[in-house]
Subunit: 509 residues, 2 copies
Amino acid sequence: MLLQLDPASQIPLYRQIRDQLRQLITTGALAVGDRLPPSRELATRLGVHRTTVANAYAELAADGWIDGHVGRGTFIAKGMDNHKNAPPAQPYTASLDNGYLWTMLMADAPADDPLDALVTSHFADARTISFTTARPAVELFPVEEFRRATSEVLRRDGRTLLQLGPSDGYPPLKEFLRADLRRQGLVFGDRELLITNGCQQALDLVRKVFLRPGDTVAMENPIYPGAIQSFRGGGIRCLGVPVTEQGVNVDALESLLARQRVRLLLLTPDFQNPTTSTLPLDARKRVLELAARHQVPIVEDGIYATLRLRGRELPSLKALDAHGLVIHINSFSKVCFSGLRVGWMVASEPVIERLRIAKQATDLHTDQLAQAALAEFGRRGWLAKLTKKARVLYRARLAKIESSFEEYFPEEVAWSRPEGGMAIWITLPAGLDASALLFKAREQNVLFTPGRYFYFQNAQLNTLRLGFAGVPEKKIEQGVEILGDLIKAELRHRRRAPEAERAARVALV
Amino acid sequence: MLLQLDPASQIPLYRQIRDQLRQLITTGALAVGDRLPPSRELATRLGVHRTTVANAYAELAADGWIDGHVGRGTFIAKGMDNHKNAPPAQPYTASLDNGYLWTMLMADAPADDPLDALVTSHFADARTISFTTARPAVELFPVEEFRRATSEVLRRDGRTLLQLGPSDGYPPLKEFLRADLRRQGLVFGDRELLITNGCQQALDLVRKVFLRPGDTVAMENPIYPGAIQSFRGGGIRCLGVPVTEQGVNVDALESLLARQRVRLLLLTPDFQNPTTSTLPLDARKRVLELAARHQVPIVEDGIYATLRLRGRELPSLKALDAHGLVIHINSFSKVCFSGLRVGWMVASEPVIERLRIAKQATDLHTDQLAQAALAEFGRRGWLAKLTKKARVLYRARLAKIESSFEEYFPEEVAWSRPEGGMAIWITLPAGLDASALLFKAREQNVLFTPGRYFYFQNAQLNTLRLGFAGVPEKKIEQGVEILGDLIKAELRHRRRAPEAERAARVALV
């Protein structure tokens, strides 16, 4: 009887064990009264933690598939004869629901769901050290100030903001943003600004307005998985432009634009996610020249730019944009209150007008309570104060994670030197698989995001992203130490027995 | 020199006059020094109010196209020679912006924008009697209670709800909805429920998951313009099913399903928008049988169902759904706080899971502050109380608008007898154009929505929708009286000179 686990799968290991045992019972490979190996023994054979097997056994017992008898062992339960002819458990996407095969009716959506693991992972328990996401440190949120701002706008303007409003955004928030961004050198009119539900929706609207089947989008590879989700599928072709330590590779971009008809270019010039690299000023100008020459609009993701932690601030592509070619997208979510889902887009008036119409057809407008509360929070100077505090905190955490790398990582590991943002990009020695590392790190309650989630082409399996902004310094050090030990052990192990690692995961029960 | 106005156009009349005069100047049909007719005279010839012409003249003067001299008249201005070779004014969608022709890059979005006029019309001034929208009466909103609910959730759970959350919805809101809907006979699990940004986004998600180019959607015709916006375009074929006084015509639907491969069916069984008709119980069962026979999923829009004002409550299609065929969409927005944009979808688990993934790729999740505040507002019983109050108020307003029709409308006008909802559907005598009526009603500060906005096929130009829920009784009576007078005048006029109406709009200056 063979159990084979896939550490790279998004299905938790205990569920892989549970489902495979169920299937063995259903197909008759395991019969009523058969004895299962003790959890400790099976764990050793499978190379997983004992609790992983114990969890699988517990669920099988709860569902009546197996019986445990203290001192005697675990057996296939009696009632299980009834299950013999039941169909094997299916993944939900293929399941028959009340006699109706829904999946037959669904359009070709991607079957995998890379973002899912990232977004849901914050429900991990308190012991976990999670470097998984790039979200703001919640301990910074001045909840009480925000509560007062919310209360104030409801008192002052409750009826208006609780009724349907304009699809381009709640006017006081638009005014605040225009004034605030003017101070940062970005000057634009009210009709060049659209409020969205964060950057994710901005990308969705861009797709709706600009892309049809057969079109080609060029973007950095690797990139934020939400961008892949927004643009891939439906006959859109995504072409990757490699990223260097100095931002997107402009030579590669030039060559690509010369060879291919590209309809849209998506770039993150500041602290690109996940590589964290920043595009220098002269490269920004060159990118704009290329875009103008080939008449390709640029969607500029400016979401991290506010979080510069060191080095000199650079003008955004939008601020340098002489040809009206740039659609700038941005959001409050990296500084604060990501749960409100409020972001914005800046572009020339005819572009914003078309995006506004698409926004209206999508959800009429963004929640006005969130918009009004943010406007008030900003107007009172609390947003500026919070941004300053975030920079101080993240700067300390960045210093901490870098010094921890120096201390605990073997010299074969390379890491990026971000000038800002919330994460660091790690490259393991060639041949090491970050997904396999995650599988082991999880057993010690350390989580991160393997690089493969960020690639839509040519995934580099030896890369990973560590988000540091939301992790206290003490935990940063603990987590990096654990990762360092695992990497060192893996390197030792590989020197001794290159094939042993793979074999350990295929156990004959 | 010929000016021809289109009263049915969404371009305001004064702008039509302004733009046409500009064009006459640009093309040389009007030369420097030529005298324009006095505004009063031109207004009479065009059959519009004098201020309409005065507004057009004022804008032309402000831009330097014409000069006015008190006591002498209005003349084409001197500097206008320069404009002669300038291209005529273009609608924004075709405008060159900083040398960059954006529209060349935009995908085929619909050029018209029917919802726009409806959504933005609430900015009309206080004198206006607007029957335009179907939105809740804002004077009912218990803003202070809502403020307390918001304050409470921020105090209790601020950090969590201001951080990113689960894409299927804020758990306490999901719990509240499940308990609340269970009382209404709709029982479902947590994984059969997805929170959305209102029904508009629910339709957007349905499109993303279920429809690809070449697919056919069947839906009531006429229908809510947002549904047309959601489904039309991108190679989707929309087929209309006519609506009777007893809801969708089931015979027509049966025949359509037998002839065409329909991928999705969109229906509003209760107080359909805009016809306000309700599908009887036996017809609901027949629709479900048809859908099961042809294996066509039904998207049921239940947004008005809570607002039953008379007659017996009927089970939703979802409550009758034995085959797991129904995706039920709904929203808080017709009872309260439309500005928050919170709605939900109920469907079988695999369907919700796919919709959730699409939701995540669209905007990660719905604003958690709005979700949490609504959950608290509901949990405290305030939503139930508000719903009750809304029913009482709308019942009185429905009675008022019906009695006003009896009093002021000529007998040739027919109207629907809604059992609930927020609007009444009017059918004028054949040959009368509701858009022309709106053009006249506007001059007397009465607004409504011409029926043509709701049709995607075979528009019946003699129909219109009057939303009564947001209009105080006194204004209802005043508005209906004005409309009645205009319709009567039109009928008299038509009896005298059938062609005069059309001719009045084409004036030789």
